[in-house]
Amino acid sequence: MSLMSQGVELSARADSARIEPSLAGVDDFVALMKPRVMSLVVFTALVGLLVAPGHLHPVLGFGALICIAVGAGAAGALNMWYDADIDALMARTAQRPIPAGRVSRGEALGFGVTLAFGSVVVLGLVANWVAAGLLAFTIFFYAVIYTMWLKRRTPQNIVIGGAAGAFPPMIGWAAATGGTGLEALFLFLIIFLWTPPHFWALALCRAGDYERAGVPMLPVVAGTQETVRQIRLYAIALFPVGMAPWLIGAAGPLYGVTAAGAGAIMLGLAWRVRGSGREAKALFGYSILYLFVLFAVLLVDHVLFGPWMAGAQAG
């Protein structure tokens, strides 16, 4: 290599290494935290915190919820940092801040790591270190186990990775009680078993996107028929688990009746799914409502018939 070509190469490297002024707006950093996912995390964590038998001062409870929300946001930012290459290939994600060129990968990584450490440490100080440990594990699970390891390797990615989304009510419970329990485990299981039919209904509609990006989602790898079969299996498993808080005496009949009705509708919609048509979209939309209704009624049931939970604890 001649001296001149070496000089040209060094100059090109210096140009690429130059730090450009950031184009990121405040809304881009908000988008990095996946606010829609965050809202579900905050809601389920709030329910876990409020139905738990322990007592947490409202100010500390509010602080704990902020920490859980920020921790979820950190996991979202780290996910977008790592997945920027495949996000650029999918229509649904191409306009996210990194692939759209408004935020650099370095900015997203720094943002995510800072929020992750901050949220875990503050939750430990505000509530307790069991809750903080669970939050740290959740962020690690989503960013490393799901995003870096499973997502691009196995069609079971969202089954195992779904655990990350299922932890928030358990973290809320731990923030209030300093530990976990059978009731918290069932709240975890409800979201864990809800995740596959929820995401696979979406994946059926977006299979082309995932195929183009090389993400081995179930409809891409195993086909529509197998995906529909597995959606139905998980919907069947979800039905009794959705009713479990009532069955173990941790919730009252209001919750039991609601869970039975909502679960039956979920089963019915799962059975109507044949492919990527309206039925899959209907199941996806309803699944969000299902989870919201279940947790909302659990909270209402607790407020109206609080002794159910106390009875379960005494028993």
């Binding site: 002024p21 184009l23 990121a24 707006g25 405040v26 950093f29 100010v59 500390l60 505000v126």
Partner: protein
């Protein structure tokens, strides 16, 4: 004044921000200030709640 400074930076080969970049930087700065202010209030309230009446009790 700002234009003069930008001109001087440009002469020295420094970074010159566009109006859009300046607007976004200002928005980020305001957001950071608001978040820091909210954190100060939150940590103050949490400290008072956690320490309670013992907040002024210190060994001499």
């Amino acid at each position: 004044m700002d234009k003069k400074r930008d001109g001087e930076q440009s002469d020295r080969g420094g970074v010159v921000l566009t109006e859009e970049q300046k607007r976004r930087r200002r928005a980020r700065s305001i957001a950071i200030a608001l978040v820091l202010g909210a954190l100060v209030l939150l940590f103050y309230a949490i400290t008072i709640v956690r320490l309670g009446p013992n907040v002024l009790t210190r060994p001499l």
